[in-house]
């Protein structure tokens, strides 16, 4: 097993775990930060798959701008998610 393969398994496991975390977190600010972490891991995965172009775009748009928009949406609405 090479090092890159081991890193890929770690990253893909982390992607699944953080995706579940985004779904189950009730505090929406925490969910937005978890989504930024998801995007960051996605960017590392793109870099390992030798697509540095897509990695830069994913890091800029996914981890940066989407998080800023989500945080501003949370600031203007409620922070907790309610169970109906």
């Amino acid at each position: 097993m090479t090092i890159a393969f081991a890193i890929q398994i770690i990253i893909l496991t982390g992607l699944v775990l953080i995706g579940l975390l985004v779904f189950y977190l009730k505090d929406l600010l925490h969910a937005a930060i978890a989504f930024a972490a998801f995007s960051f891991l996605m960017s590392v995965e793109f870099y390992i798959l030798q697509a540095p172009d897509v990695a830069i775009a994913e890091a800029g748009i996914g981890a940066g701008i989407t998080t800023a928009i989500l945080i501003q949406a949370v600031r203007s609405t409620t922070r907790k998610e309610f169970d109906n």
């Binding site: 540095p52 830069i56 775009a57 940066g64 928009i69 949406a73 203007s76």
Partner: protein, 160 residues
Amino acid sequence: MSKIVRAAADFLYPFVMIFGFYIVLHGHLTPGGGFQGGAVIATGIALMFAAHRYREISLIFKKAIFNVCETFGLLMFITFGFAGIFFGKSFLYNWMVNIPGMLFGEAVAYGQNAGNLNTGGIIPLLNIAVGVEVLGALSLIIYYMLTYVVKMGVNKEDAS
């Protein structure tokens, strides 16, 4: 946001901006280009928008600046495109390449990428145009989001 977030954003802002402009300027040599670099620059601006209050940040970043950036980028791209037709060739013809003495006019060396920034003809200029356009457009999205956050007046920190 809290004082920690504001201090971290102020510290990270120049590094993010310099990295973004580096990606835009080296678009024809290294991975990345106008869109990616513009997205990184807009990330730096979004960081400042998310960290500071609307009252303070709207004094530094005006909406008109981003409008001018977006329009200027699009006009620059179209102008360089039609300059090819003006010189008797097709749209987006690379009329500046391999002319010694011209800006970005040196010939590309054979073999491994030597990293000479002064090559590429109009490709670096088109990268700069796309970078300026994406910077303005993505920043305008953030700006309008924050404007409506303030207008609704839900958050006490922003409304005060």
